[in-house]
Structures are given as structure tokens and as C-alpha cells.
Symmetry: C2
Subunit: 354 residues, 2 copies
């Protein structure tokens, strides 16, 4: 069954998703009866493009990867509309689902939040890996989705495609999750891992920058702000809290020295930048801080750029999941898994009414 998709944002993640849909369509149709048709794309830099019959992703990717404008896209057999901003594109296209993939702004959540509101209000599902709307407006947007009987799925906002939110919602369902603690930022975990093997903070940061793990301005990572956005999402999604990043104490790793690392090691512990949410006596609290973890704990073994979360559940005890926390294809995949879940519901409804 066809699933019609609008994409806002055709940067790294958007291109990753398009590559997956281009390369694995046969498998998706065969195994999931999921036939993705991208009907509209809007990108701040590359322009916008709508074709109700579906765009040729090979052509789209060639343009995007050569930095050419989407205005150059041609399809003699079908009506193609060019131009217009994201909102007007959403208003005029026939998509079942918006993939919101613009840049993250943790201050305002814009322009992504406006795109999500517009789509949900029009009865369009939204899937996004953008932390802005998820960290700042989750409650509003998920209510809006419920009101319009559509989905608002944000798996990719926490650990790219590695399942965290869907794991908790589907596979730990029926448990009371009393705590979630995780390594939610690959850059800082890479730096701390390098410091474990003897480097200073500055040396480790330089290596991370050379490898492309850290930005030239590493503030968002090393001051814990990226982990903070993810912790906010965990608190609000897993525990029904209504926190903002500004409500949550946050400390980064700049102050960690080789001496700290050595002292921890002497006690059988290892420093990790931990994002933590807890529910106690009905109250949800959260924080981000470097913490000493017993080396025998599953989180202590997570080295390099890998991410992980440990859930504490009342029935099942501790469950830990680890995997990629970033990456073009890995984050592109996070959108696919959310699309597949929405599609599964569509198929079940259509079977029930057949």
C-alpha cells in the first residue's frame, strides 16, 4: 500500500532517509506492504518541489548531493510544482506523513514546531528526529496528534535509530519505568573514553574534532546541552512530565581531569556523562552530569561514540540498550521505523474495515 510522504529539510538526515527509501523499496513493499512515495520536498537551501504522483528519489539525490537547486528537477510525464515555503507546501500536498528534518533550535523549536503544528492540524502524521519540537512542545504536539487521530513519532530524537522511546512504549509496556539513565551523547563519551586511555581533555577533544565527532565550537556537546535536550524528551515521553530543558540541572565534562579519571578507576568506577530521569513518589526529576559508574554496570562498558540507556522497570528490573547515537543512515532509519509503525496501524485499520 502506498504511503505518501512530505519531507521538510533535505540535509544529511533527509538525504539518508531518501537513500534508504530508494535502495530498499522492494524489501519494504515485500515485507511490510509499505510503498513509500515522496510527494513533496522543501529545503531552505535547495528550494521546494511537489509532484502528487511521486518524485524520483535518484534525481532528487543527485541534485541535493551536487548542491543544485530542486528547481532543476524535471519530470516530463507528470505535473511538478516548484517554489513556495514549507507551510504552503504542506497545505497543498497530498502527504499522509510529514518527515520534519530541519535543523534543531533548542531555544525556540522553530521553524520545525510550526511545520509539525501545521501538518498535525491538517490530519497529517508527523515523524521527526528534530529535538526542538520534541524537547520544547511534546505535550502540545502529541495532544494535537491525538485530537486529529494521527501519529507524532520522535524515535530519532534520542539515539538516532537505536530504539529507546519505542522500546519503552511497546516492549516494556505494562511496566512502571521508575528510572532511565543513559549515555546520550557520543562526542562526550568518545572524549571520556580517550581520557580513560591517558589523554588530557584537550587532547581528546582535538582528536574528536579531527574525526568529525565534535564541532569546532564543541559547546552543545561538552556542556551537556545535547544530552539535556534528550533527557527532557525522556522525562516528558516516558514519564509524562512537562519539563523544559531550562528546568533541569545540567553539568558538562569540561571540568573532568585525568586525576578525576584515575581516582574513579582506583575505586572500580568510570566517569560517564549521564542523563538521568527518575520518578519518585509521583514526582519526576531529571539531571545531566558526569557520574562515576561501577565498572560492572552495563553503562560503564559503553565506550567511544556509542550511546546507551538503562531502564529500571518495576516488573522486569534493569534493561539496557546500546547502539549508534548518530549517523546519516542510522538517523535516516529512525524515520523509517516510525513510518513503518504508522503504516502498520493503517494496514490494521484497513484490514478491519475490509
Amino acid at each position: 500500500m502506498k504511503h505518501r510522504i512530505a519531507l521538510v529539510g533535505l540535509g544529511t538526515v533527509g538525504q539518508g532517509l531518501c537513500e534508504i527509501l530508494r535502495d530498499h523499496r522492494d524489501r519494504l513493499v515485500e515485507e511490510h506492504d509499505f510503498d513509500p512515495v515522496v510527494v513533496a520536498i522543501c529545503d531552505l537551501r535547495l528550494g521546494s518541489l511537489t509532484c502528487d504522483e511521486g518524485l524520483d528519489l535518484e534525481n532528487v539525490l543527485e541534485l541535493a548531493q551536487s548542491g543544485s537547486s530542486l528547481e532543476e528537477y524535471e519530470d516530463p510525464g507528470h505535473e511538478v510544482r516548484h517554489g513556495g515555503d514549507a507551510i504552503s507546501m504542506l497545505e497543498s500536498c497530498s502527504a499522509d506523513t510529514l518527515c520534519e528534518l530541519t535543523f534543531t533550535d533548542l531555544g525556540t523549536g522553530e521553524p520545525a514546531t510550526s511545520h509539525c503544528r501545521s501538518a498535525l492540524s491538517r490530519g497529517m502524521n508527523v515523524v521527526t528526529s528534530n529535538k526542538g519540537p520534541a524537547a520544547l512542545f511534546y505535550r502540545e504536539l502529541s495532544s494535537l496528534a491525538d485530537e486529529h487521530h494521527v501519529g507524532f513519532h520522535i524515535e530519532g530524537t534520542v539515539m538516532s535509530g537505536t530504539p529507546v522511546l519505542n522500546l519503552a512504549r511497546l516492549n516494556l509496556a505494562g511496566n512502571r519505568i521508575t528510572a532511565a539513565r543513559g549515555i546520550l551523547n557520543g562526542t562526550t563519551n568518545y572524549i571520556l573514553s580517550e581520557m580513560e586511555s591517558g589523554k588530557t581533555y584537550q587532547e581528546a577533544l582535538s582528536t574528536a574534532q579531527k574525526l568529525g565527532y565534535a564541532e569546532a565550537d564543541p559547546t552543545a556537546d561538552v556542556d551537556g546541552l545535547d544530552a539535556l535536550a534528550k533527557v527532557t524528551i525522556l522525562a516528558n515521553v516516558l514519564m509524562g512530565a512537562d519539563l523544559r530543558p531550562a528546568d533541569i540541572p545540567c553539568e558538562g565534562i569540561r571540568s573532568i581531569t585525568p586525576d578525576h579519571i584515575d581516582e574513579a578507576r582506583a575505586q572500580g568506577k568510570r566517569y560517564k556523562l549521564i542523563g538521568e530521569v527518575r520518578r519518585e513518589d509521583g514526582r519526576v526529576s531529571a539531571r545531566v552530569a558526569p557520574m562515576q559508574i561501577e565498572v560492572s554496570h552495563p553503562l560503564a562498558g559503553i565506550m567511544g561514540a556509542t550511546n546507551a540507556v538503562t531502564f529500571t522497570c518495576d516488573l522486569l528490573g534493569e534493561v539496557t540498550i546500546s547502539g549508534a547515537g548518530a549517523g546519516r543512515i542510522e538517523t535516516g532509519y529512525s524515520l523509517l521505523v516510525d513510518l513503518l509503525e504508522i503504516h502498520r496501524s493503517v494496514l490494521q485499520r484497513s484490514e478491519a474495515t475490509a
Copy 2:
């Protein structure tokens, strides 16, 4: 919405499930619109009992935990039927779902497989943590379920309630899983962990027996037979193979000596009993054997009785999940999570046709 349940087998796991349903019913109704009503129970030792209006689980558990026959159960307000074997109970009760919780027989899969066949043929869903039907007859039973438009869910057969099969099916959907490697037996992992800290195999086995991790006859664990059943299930469920345990090479841990452990350590490795399935060139292969794992790999950090699986996915890379692999409540919970998934489908269908 009520969900009517028949239980065959009221041993450790059956009692664990009943405790969960007794203690957490309000939460399940509130959060999942899932109102579990146990309408029939049959146990080889305790007898059988049917009441279409639902059994009082508090009374049932008191009888079971004092070793009293279910014949003594009384409910003046409702019609209660006593006696009969599992098959005749399934034929006469009004359950939506059978929870098959009898003992595992990896030779014949009986009597559990007959119970599953009977229920599925009557249009009843089946959830089970019994490795027999799952390891020996998965393909037949899942086809039978499809034919009758019901579910056959077996999450609890691999790592109790820790999500493995549901994780692969739901949260890794859209990936091609090319390999799954895991620590699937807590007893042997406990023994190997103790040997890491200096004990001989015999000393570690004795401790495991004292703690109740290992049976007086430890064959099923230490010769890898329990892991073998689980690997068979992974091969057949995750990779669509049609293997039997007898088709899969299997080596246990009896031959591992402290010298082996030391040699591995000198090379930065650690011995683990690994169950492995691989898909290469369209062919699925599987094996169980002690293997040396790099200490930096997530599986190497899994110590004691904890279980874990690493999936290798074409889009998402490696994802590792770890958690309990056994336990009364943990395995009882595995049935609940499968029941909740079946119930979710029921609710979606009922919403679609409303």
C-alpha cells in the same frame, strides 16, 4: 476492554503472571484499556477450573501456593466447572488467548504443542514462554495462527521478559538482520564470570547450584542445550529459517579451564558461551559454543546471570540489549507484554470498525 485468558500450567511462571495480573490490574486498565479476566486454568498437578465470569486470582494463588487442589476453589455467585484435561478445557472455555505455561520438553515439544495447536485452530491467540513448541514447531504454529487470524507470540522463550523477538520485529523493522549473537543462558554466564575471578569450573558450578542458578543435574545449561533451543528460535523467528536443535552444532562450557580464561585475558578477550545465528548469501547458519569476545564488545561486559543479544543490522549497525534472562516475575511479564500487543491489535480493529 476485557481480555479473556485461559492458563495451562500454574507453576512458577503461571503464578508469576497471575500475581502481576492481580497486583497491577488497575494500571493495565487505565493505561492500556486492558482488563484481564482469567476464565480457565488447568494444571497437571493442581487440577482444572473454569468460570466464564472470571476467576478470583487471590483465591487461585492461595490454593496454588499452599499446594492445594484447584478443586477446592469456590465461588458461590458464579458457575464454576471443575475437572477435565487441558484440551477439553480449551474446547469448552470462552478465552480470547491461551497462555501456555507447562514444562518445556525439547525432545517432543509435548504436551505444549498440542495445547497450542488446539487453541490456534479454535481461533484463540497463544502466548507462551515454553521453548518446546517454539524451537520445534514455530513455522507450523505461526502459519496456523495466520490462517486463523490470531497471534502466536513467544517473547518469553528467549530472555524472559527482556525484549528480543519483539525488538527485532517492531523496533528494528525495515533492517535486514544479518547476525544475532547472544549470551542466552544465565547459569553458564554466571559460572564463566566466577571463573574470571579465579574459581575453577567445579567451584563455580557448586556456587551456582547453591544459589539456585544451576540444577543438581546441570546438563541442560552447561552442555549448551538451553542456549541451543534459544538459538533455534532466533534462527527461525528472526531469519525465517526452519532449523531444529539437532541441526545446529552445540558445544557447552565443561571443557573451559582457568588456563583458557587466563590465555584469553592475556589477549584482551573474555570467554562467553555464545549462541549465534548468521545469514550469509541467503543461507542461515547457527551454532552454540564458548567464544572469546573482545573485552571492548558490549557482550563482554555482561556478567553474572544477565543475558544479552547483539543484533547486526544492515542500516542501523550493531544494537545490543541486555537484561534478565529468567525469573518468576520477569518471565510472567513476558506473557503480559505479548498479551498487551495482541490487545493493542484488538483495540485498533475495534476502533476502526466503530
